[in-house]
């Protein structure tokens, strides 16, 4: 570490007031003048399986694959979220019946959508009443232990949707490619919550990544999360002005993992929680390779994607149980 970095680290350590983390994309509702994060009340979240099947996947197969995905989220040691299977039902996902239902449905109109999660929320209180997940029966599905060529892995997609079901939005920690023969493909993703599916046959998205774990722990903190982890916060500027929608990635030099968030106010503020204490590198990048609508409501918040990728010039220390202090990052026009 050079002298400038050391000085910067010291300054950041001194200026480290605790910050409310607003990392990841979390769903929320506005109640009065308060923003309420969408999350379940303490206690097991009960779900039902719509008694449905598709070629190659029976109703018990569906039940088992979904249960494995729920178990994966529930196993995160720094999160208190828990789920409970309520039984099979004839009610379909999307029925506003007060129960959370998961199953296959045929939605040919939802072209390009493998699965979707919906919520019913009491807007007066912000209370989450129910959440449903449907898997698009128009696509080929598999529950084979090692995946099947040409079929999407149900457990992987269920893991993503259950992240939404639990209150997490999309993560932009992923990279895609474009081929001459057509279409985009995922090269790699550092989050199950990346919105684009791996190619059929892949099962790599059955495992949560650091970004997912930080997100679910931030929503439902448990164990030593609050005292063992830290956060990193700051603001992003371009042409002297703060702005909304910059993707901010914190890279942990020790664990080689990434956790990311966005500048989520017109003051360019970001705050990424659930970080391992230690040195981090910050990278700020435009969401210019993604469908921004998949992350933000573009009818309300236009997102600026016309700037260069920027690495902050200093290493940032994330303290155990505290915040880094304000990190100011300036990006340049392309």
């Amino acid at each position: 570490m050079n002298r400038r970095a050391i000085v910067s680290v010291l300054v950041l350590l001194i200026c480290a007031p605790p910050q409310p983390a607003q990392a990841y994309l979390k769903f929320g509702v506005t109640v009065g003048d308060q923003r309420v994060t969408l999350k379940w009340k303490p206690g097991p979240v009960r779900y039902f399986i719509f008694d449905s099947s598709v070629p190659g996947v029976t109703s018990p197969d569906l039940q088992a694959a979904v249960a494995r995905a729920f178990a994966t989220w529930q196993a995160v040691p720094t999160s208190s979220i828990a789920y409970q299977f309520g039984g099979l039902t004839s009610a379909q996902p999307g029925d506003d019946d007060g129960t959370s239902t998961i199953g296959f449905e045929n939605y040919p109109d939802l072209d390009g959508v493998l699965a979707s999660t919906s919520f019913v929320v009491d807007d007066a209180t912000g209370e989450l009443i129910e959440s449903d997940i449907f898997f698009n029966a128009s696509y080929p599905w598999s529950v084979a232990a090692n995946g099947e060529p040409g079929k999407f892995d149900l457990e992987s997609v269920a893991l993503h949707e259950i992240g939404h079901f639990s209150g997490l939005g999309h993560s932009a920690l992923g990279e895609t490619s474009l081929s001459a023969s057509g279409g985009r493909a995922v090269i790699g993703a550092e989050a199950v919550m990346f919105p684009i599916a791996y190619a059929p046959g892949s099962i790599v998205s059955r495992t949560l990544k650091a970004d997912d774990i930080a997100g679910i722990s931030d929503l439902y903190p448990d164990g030593d999360y609050a005292t063992a982890e830290g956060s990193l916060s700051g603001r992003v500027f371009k042409n002297g002005h703060p702005f909304f929608g910059a993707h901010v990635v914190a890279f942990d030099l020790r664990t080689k993992t990434m956790v990311a968030g966005f500048s989520l106010t017109d003051q360019g503020q970001f705050s990424i929680g659930g970080l391992s204490p230690g040195l981090h590198v910050i990278r700020v990048e435009p969401l210019d390779d993604a469908n921004v609508d998949s992350f933000f409501d573009q009818s309300v918040n236009p997102v600026d994607v016309d700037f260069q990728v920027t690495f902050d010039g200093v290493l940032v220390v994330v303290p155990r149980g505290g915040d880094s202090g304000q990190v100011l990052v300036t990006v340049q026009n392309k």
Binding site: G112, D122, L178, G183, A290, D293, V300
Partner: protein, 181 residues
Amino acid sequence: MRTLLICCLLTASVIHAGATVLVPTDLTGLSHDALAIVRGRVASVDARWTADHRTIETIVTLEAESYLKGALGETVQFRVPGGVLGRYRSIVVGAPAFAVDQHVVVFLGARGPSVPFVVGFSQGVFRMVRSTDSARWLVTPPTDLRPATGTVPIIRGDPSRRPLTLDDFEQRVRSLVGSQR
């Protein structure tokens, strides 16, 4: 279901939200799959219950300024999941949202005699923004044209991927549409 909905109306306003896993596509795929590609101004955004009354959808009415493929008239309507209806709000994360007076290029599909939908969910919407000097419309497609051979990574922040002028974007799309004929 109606009983529950009435109860909800009486006791609280309700938000409906959702999110998705997408099968990726690109400009070439979108151009191929679309029944119509239209540029225009959003004239109205009206939420309604779906025919089966299970959820809310929004009908977007676009004043068509130009068709890059097909033709559906001077005004065209299409539907997107979610919307606001009375005290109910349906938000589908991953579904595009529209506001009156926005300018967009949308790739539309349809199945049978029904209101068209956006091809590829959020992937079939390209939003037009004014250049800094307000002299031109710009569009930023997230992916570029397919390479002639092999596979190329899409690099986030690639300096060569700049917002296109509307003319350039439309020329690309027309070229892709023309090559399919």
